[in-house]
């Protein structure tokens, strides 16, 4: 028997989970309060989509601002820490340990400083997403093949040319991975801070409906957050794939190119 493709299996598992979500709550084994059937959640989403949309807009605005902070500051700080030996030895251990601290404990302080509006969420999520961006940028710059820089220098590259033509393109793969992780963390940061202390946003909806035991609306908000995260991750991966075409192009083109080699007048050199 032929094995089904992994992609097919993945979709089947997902479909299975959705069917389970619809049918299991209907068996009565668990109360509907714990988990309403999928159809009820979707119905709630359809009925109250205006409310979800307006809260989502708040969340998206906060996420966008936080990503701007996380990426901008993260890349800048990462470039400095990765590129300057003194800063690296002073700051990298500090930043690395900070990354391991559950920053969410700082959020109450942020609300004291910046209020319970969007500002505190943006700053908290920005800081939260900053670390992976900064650390991977620093790593990307630090792990550049020194031989490439030597080669560029031998060809007469000035320092600005080395930065623009070697250091930046060489560190792009690691930086993009950092942006994907950092971006995902800013989404988490915004939603978590909205759930903790706030008056708007999709995270706030989760908390508000939970306190009034309206589980269909809670799950509705969860579905929206899930979709947001998946959408972001898919987008980020697509950007990575497009940008890093030089890492993968060969594997896709090879078949076509062999023909071209065979047709070329000169024998294929070693």
């Amino acid at each position: 028997m032929k094995r089904p493709a992994p992609a097919t299996v993945r979709w089947l598992i997902l479909a299975g989970l959705l069917v389970f979500w619809e049918l299991f709550p209907r068996t009565g084994i668990i109360p509907e309060l714990f988990m309403p059937p999928l159809s009820k959640v979707l119905a709630v989403l359809a009925k109250d989509w205006r409310e979800y949309a307006s809260e989502l807009a708040v969340t998206l605005y906060e996420v966008a601002c936080a990503m701007l902070i996380a990426c901008g500051a993260g890349i800048l700080a990462g470039a400095l820490v990765g590129g300057v030996a003194l800063l690296r030895s002073l700051l990298l251990p500090v930043f690395s340990s900070l990354y391991a601290v559950p920053l969410v404990i700082l959020y109450p302080i942020f609300t004291a400083w910046f209020g319970i509006g969007s500002e505190s969420k943006i700053i908290f999520a920005g800081v939260y997403g900053f670390f992976p961006v900064m650390l991977s940028t620093a790593a990307g710059i630090r792990t550049i093949d020194a031989q490439l820089l030597l080669a560029a220098r031998s060809m007469g590259a000035t320092l600005p040319q080395q930065i623009a033509r070697v250091i930046i393109p060489a560190s792009i793969p690691t930086v993009l991975t950092g942006l994907r992780l950092g971006g995902a963390l800013t989404i988490i940061g915004v939603v978590v801070s909205e759930m903790l202390i706030s008056s708007a946003g999709i995270g706030y909806l989760v908390t508000r409906y939970r306190t009034i035991l309206d589980s269909a609306h809670v799950f509705g908000a969860i579905v929206v957050i899930l979709l947001l995260s998946i959408l972001f991750d898919t987008f980020a991966r697509a950007v990575e794939r497009r940008t890093l075409v030089w890492q993968t192009a060969g594997r896709r083109q090879k078949a076509g190119e062999v023909v071209q080699i065979a047709g070329s007048p000169a024998p294929a050199p070693v």
Partner: protein, 269 residues
Amino acid sequence: MANVSPVLSIVRDEPASAAIEVAGLTHVYDGRDGKVPALTDIAMTVGAGRFVVIVGPSGCGKTSLLMMMAGLRHQTSGTIRIQGRPIDNPDPERVGVVFQEASLFPWLTALDNIEFPLALRHAPKAERAERANQMLNLVGLQGFGARYPHELSGGMKQRVSIARGLVQDPPVLLMDEPFAALDEQTRMTMGHELLRIWSQTAKTVVFVTHSLTEAVYLADEVLVMSARPGRIIGRIAINLPRPRTYEMMATDIFGCLRDRIWQQIRKEG
């Protein structure tokens, strides 16, 4: 010395026009236990258009010497003159460098890699493409210009690297163990190809290697270096006729020359 055949004679007279002149070169670097002498009193002259190979034990400083000739590293004292002028910084118009790992930029195609030195000095696009294509043909890679480095074999990468080293038409080409990472067969082919390219371009080549066979096969002259601190302890002329052929490797003279280099290295070790 009367019974030494002409092929084995020591090089004495320097060619009239020198492409590379190294005099009184000494290099000391700061190691963990203070100053470490790396190169001591190196003097050498390479005539224009000559193919000189430097051999020596690992860590003898042959790569350092080459990097200094390229202007990529600074010696403690002494002078290096390329084409009559001292070299303090990399000068791609005078010196092209080919490294051990091909050191190609993985995000650029073969053609863009070859164009890179021209792009650095903002040469017009048409000129760049024309020069790069000429070089691509010279190294036998026509039709492979659009490939990325990871789509090329080890030998092809070094061909691109040689093309990049020659694209600005420098009179001097420095090569740091360029074929060391290749398998034996590819290495032989590449050596042969390098001689073809050399005979077509009339460059002065300084080539560093561990392989004595490669040294004898390629060189007009082999310089033997001692273990650290590196000194030049022997200069052996390779008067085998050109073009060199694979069959020459089986001859007694070839074996004799290789053995002679080996004796020099062993005596020092």
